[in-house]
C-alpha cells in the first residue's frame, strides 16, 4: 500500500523546523528553509501554534493534469513524481495546486513540492508528522 505524508499531531509541534531543514538537506541537497516540501509556520504569531503545509496527495493531482510535459506525473497513492529533465519551469503546477503548496524556487525556477518520501519524519522530535497508508488505496 502506498504511503503518504501526513501531519498527524501538529498540536505537539514546537516549531523547531527540523523537518523543513531535513527536507532541504536530504532531498534538495541544500541548506534552506524554503527549498522544502514541508513548510511549517505559525498560525499568526507564536502564541497561535503551528501548521504544516505540504502536498495533500491528490489523486488525480491537478498539478499533474496542468503540467504540459509530464514533468509532474501522477504518483500511485496520491501526489506526484517529478521528472526534472522534462520540466519547462512554466509554473502551471504551482498555479493549479488547490492548497498552494508547490513553491517555484527563486534560484532554479523549478517547482519544490513534497514527494511523500518521508525523509523528514525521522527529524521530527515529537512525532507530529508520519507516513500513513494512502486513503486513495482504501
Amino acid at each position: 500500500m502506498a504511503k503518504i505524508l501526513r501531519a498527524v499531531a501538529m498540536e505537539r509541534c514546537i516549531g523547531c523546523y527540523s523537518c523543513m531543514l531535513g527536507c532541504a538537506r536530504q532531498v534538495h541537497d541544500s541548506l534552506s528553509m524554503i527549498r522544502s516540501g514541508i513548510q511549517v509556520r505559525s498560525l499568526g504569531g507564536l502564541t497561535a501554534g503551528f501548521e504544516a503545509r505540504y502536498c495533500l496527495a491528490c489523486s488525480p493531482a491537478p498539478c499533474a493534469e496542468a503540467c504540459p510535459t509530464h514533468a509532474f506525473e501522477q504518483r500511485p497513492g496520491g501526489g506526484i513524481r517529478y521528472k526534472e529533465a522534462r520540466c519547462l519551469r512554466c509554473g502551471r503546477c504551482a498555479q493549479a495546486c488547490p492548497v498552494d503548496v508547490v513553491i517555484m524556487d527563486r534560484e532554479t525556477g523549478r517547482p519544490v513540492v513534497c514527494l511523500h518520501c518521508g525523509r523528514c519524519v525521522a527529524f521530527c522530535p515529537h512525532d507530529c508528522i508520519a507516513m500513513v497508508d494512502s486513503h486513495h488505496d482504501q
Partner: protein, 577 residues
C-alpha cells in the same frame, strides 16, 4: 556564509535610509558571534562617545555554524550599553539566527538615527526602511501583530524584533523583544533602538545554499541523535530552567525579598514543578533546535463579574521567576506571570526591573522614598502595585521612576540605600550561591550568570583556593566565548565538545580553524576585554554592595575576606588581558 571565503555584512544607515552589502574576506578570521561583533565594533563603534549618540552601531552577528547544526541557534548583539557605558553583548534565540543565515547575512550593522520612527525589512534580496509612526507608542505584542498583518512575505521563515514603550523612552534596561518570548534582554539594547527611532526589524530568510562537504550529512545526523537522546537536554525541555528554583532554595541560594533572605518560604509555588503542573501550556523551540526549552504558561485573568476570562500566553524561565517572584516576595506562579506579561509588553528586562523594584520596596519601607516617588505603595508580595510600577518605569512617569530607569544604583545614589542595591555590574541574576558567583557576575564580561557560571564553584563542598577559582573563571570564559562565536546555545555546551566543534567546522569547509581553536579563543577574549576597557571599564574600581557580604548561603555566612581577595585578583587578571 563564511565558507564562501567572506563575511557578508549589511551596513544600514537610518539617517539616509539606505544600506550597503559588503563581502569582507578579512573578517572570516573572527569566526562570528562574539568575535565578529567585537571586530565590527572596533571598526564602526565610537568608544569615547555616549552610548545613545546616533552613530553608535547596533551589531547583530551569527556564526560559521549557524543554520548548519542543531542548537546553533543564537544571535549576538554587540553595542555600547547605555546602562553601563561599556561595550557589551546580549544574546537571543528565537527565529532570528536562521532568518539571518538564510537571508545570507553574517552580520547587520545599524547606525544613524531616523528622522521619524521607522521599521526595517531585510532579506537576501531585499531592504526597506518603512514609516513606523503608526507603531510608536504601541506595546511589543501589538507592534508585532501589526507588522505581521502588513508584511505578508516570509511567514515561517522570518523573525521580528521590536521595542516597547520602555525602549522608546530609553529606559537603560529596555530590552529588544525577539519573536514573542525571546529577548536581547540585558544592558539596554532597547534604549539604543529607541534613540535611533527604530521601532522594529523584520528579517526574512528566503535564501538557499548548497550543502557543504561530504561529511556534513553524517555529522548532522550524529549530532541530532545525540541532542535528542541526551538526558541533559531533556531537562531543558521538561521543567526547563525553572528546575533551579527548588534546587537553589534547598541550597539556601534563592535571592528573596531584595536578598534579605536566601530562602523563600513560598518557593514551591513558584517552582518549575508548580509551573509545569498548573500553568504550562506548551513548549516551543528556537529555529533549528529540536529541544524546545521555551516554556509557555497560560495566564487566565478574570475581567467580568461572571465567568469571564481573558487568556494570555507568557513565557517563563528561572531568571524571570526569581526576579518577579522570590526577589519581590510574589507567589504563586500565576501572580509571577502577571508581572512577566507586563514587562514583556513594555519591553523591559524583567531581571533588572524586578531587582530595581525590590530595592525600591526596601527603600520605601525604610522611609527613604515615599508615595510621592513610587506613586503606588510598594510592599513585598503586592503584585498589582508592582504591575503598575513596571508601567511607571517604562513610561518614566516621574523623576523617581526616571532615575530608577537609569539603574538601581543611580536611584540609590540619589535617595540612599546603596548598601542594599543588589547590583553586580547590573541588577543581579537569580543565584545567591556565594562569593564566586557574586564576583563572577560583578566582573564578568556581560555581567551575567552566563559568562563563567561561577555558581558551580560555590556549590562545591569547600570553596576552592582563590588561584583555582581564578583559573576556572578564566578558562570557562574562554570556552564559552568560543561557543558564542559559533553561535551555539550554551545549553548545548556539553554536546559541542572541542572534538565535535572541530569536526563541525571541518565538515562546513572551515578546517583551517578547527586545529587552532584554543589560541583563537584566547585572542578573541583579549580583544573583547580591551574593547570593554577602552569604553571606560575599570575592573579595579568594581565593588560589591554591602548586602552581598551579609547573606548566608549553603556554606554558611558569606566569607568576606575570600570574596574581597577573589574580586581583587580577578580584577587584576582582567586588567592584564
Amino acid at each position: 556564509m563564511l565558507n564562501q571565503g567572506y563575511a557578508r555584512i549589511m551596513e544600514i544607515n537610518l539617517h539616509t535610509r539606505k544600506c550597503a552589502v559588503l563581502e569582507r574576506e578579512d573578517l572570516v578570521e573572527k569566526l562570528g558571534g562574539s568575535g565578529l561583533a567585537a571586530a565590527l565594533y572596533r571598526e564602526y563603534g565610537l568608544p569615547g562617545e555616549d552610548a545613545l549618540v546616533q552613530d553608535q552601531p547596533l551589531i547583530l552577528t551569527i556564526g560559521p555554524l549557524t543554520g548548519l547544526f542543531p542548537l546553533m541557534s543564537k544571535v549576538v548583539l554587540g553595542f555600547k550599553s547605555p546602562y553601563s557605558g561599556h561595550y557589551a553583548e546580549t544574546h537571543a534565540g528565537g527565529r532570528l539566527a536562521l532568518a539571518l543565515r538564510y537571508a545570507n547575512l553574517d552580520a547587520v550593522i545599524i547606525r544613524g538615527q531616523a528622522s521619524h520612527p521607522v521599521y526595517l525589512v531585510l532579506g537576501d534580496r531585499d531592504f526597506a526602511c518603512k514609516d513606523a509612526r503608526h507603531l510608536w507608542g504601541m506595546d511589543t505584542t501589538m507592534t508585532a501583530r501589526t507588522i505581521r498583518n502588513s508584511e505578508p512575505s516570509g511567514r515561517g521563515r522570518r523573525s521580528i524584533l521590536r521595542i516597547g514603550q520602555a525602549g522608546e523612552n530609553q529606559v537603560r534596561y529596555a530590552c529588544i523583544n525577539v519573536d514573542t518570548f525571546r529577548h536581547f534582554g540585558r544592558l539596554g539594547a532597547g534604549a539604543v533602538m529607541g534613540a535611533k527611532r527604530l521601532k522594529a526589524l523584520m528579517v526574512v530568510g528566503d535564501g538557499s545554499f548548497p550543502l557543504p562537504g561530504a561529511d556534513y550529512q553524517k555529522l548532522y545526523r550524529d549530532v541530532y541523535r545525540q541532542v535528542t537522546a541526551s538526558s541533559a537536554m531533556k531537562k531543558y525541555h521538561d521543567l526547563g530552567t525553572p528546575v533551579n528554583v527548588l534546587n537553589l532554595n534547598g541550597l539556601q541560594s534563592l535571592p528573596t525579598r531584595n536578598l534579605q533572605s536566601t530562602r523563600f518560604e513560598a518557593a514551591e509555588q513558584i517552582s518549575g514543578e508548580y509551573f509545569a503542573e498548573k500553568l504550562l501550556l506548551r513548549q516551543i523551540a528556537c529555529s533549528g533546535c529540536p529541544v524546545g526549552c521555551i516554556h509557555i504558561g497560560l495566564l487566565r485573568e478574570k475581567f467580568g463579574e461572571e465567568h469571564e476570562y481573558a487568556y494570555k500566553q507568557v513565557s517563563y524561565d528561572h531568571e524571570p521567576i526569581f526576579a518577579a517572584g522570590s526577589m519581590l516576595g510574589v507567589s504563586p506562579g500565576e501572580e509571577v506571570m502577571v508581572l512577566l506579561e507586563q514587562a514583556e509588553k513594555c519591553g523591559l528586562d524583567i531581571i533588572s526591573s524586578g531587582v530595581a523594584l525590590a530595592w525600591a520596596t526596601e527603600a520605601y519601607q525604610e522611609g527613604l522614598i515615599g508615595i510621592n516617588e513610587t506613586l503606588v505603595p510598594l510592599s513585598f508580595g503586592n503584585t498589582e502595585n508592582y504591575r503598575q510600577a513596571i508601567g511607571h518605569i517604562s513610561n518614566r512617569s516621574n523623576e523617581f521612576y526616571h532615575l530608577l530607569g537609569e539603574g538601581t544604583l543611580v536611584a540609590a545614589n540619589q535617595y540612599g540605600g546603596t548598601d542594599y542595591a543588589c547590583v553586580l555590574g547590573q541588577e543581579m541574576a537569580g543565584y545567591a550561591t556565594g562569593p564566586v558567583f557574586f564576583v563572577s557576575q560583578a566582573l564578568g564580561f556581560r555581567s551575567s550568570h552566563l559568562d563563567t557560571a561561577g555558581y558551580q564553584l560555590d556549590q562545591e563542598k569547600e570553596l576552592p583556593a582563590v588561584e583555582q577559582a581564578l583559573e576556572y573563571l578564566v578558562n570557562e570564559e574562554k570556552q564559552r566565548l568560543l561557543l558564542t562565536s559559533m553561535v551555539t546555545c550554551l545549553f548545548a555546551r556539553n554536546i559541542y565538545t572541542r572534538e565535535i566543534l572541530s569536526a563541525a567546522l571541518e565538515s562546513a569547509g572551515l578546517s583551517r580553524f578547527s586545529g587552532d581553536l584554543e589560541n583563537r579563543a584566547a585572542a578573541l577574549c583579549r580583544e573583547r576585554w580591551q574593547l570593554k576597557k577602552e569604553t571606560g571599564f575599570e575592573p579595579s574600581q568594581v565593588t560589591l554592595p554591602r548586602r552581598f557580604y551579609q547573606v548566608t548561603t549553603l556554606n554558611g555566612p558569606l566569607p568576606g575576606p575570600y570574596m574581597d581577595q577573589l574580586l581583587q585578583e580577578y580584577a587584576r587578571v582582567i586588567e592584564e588581558m
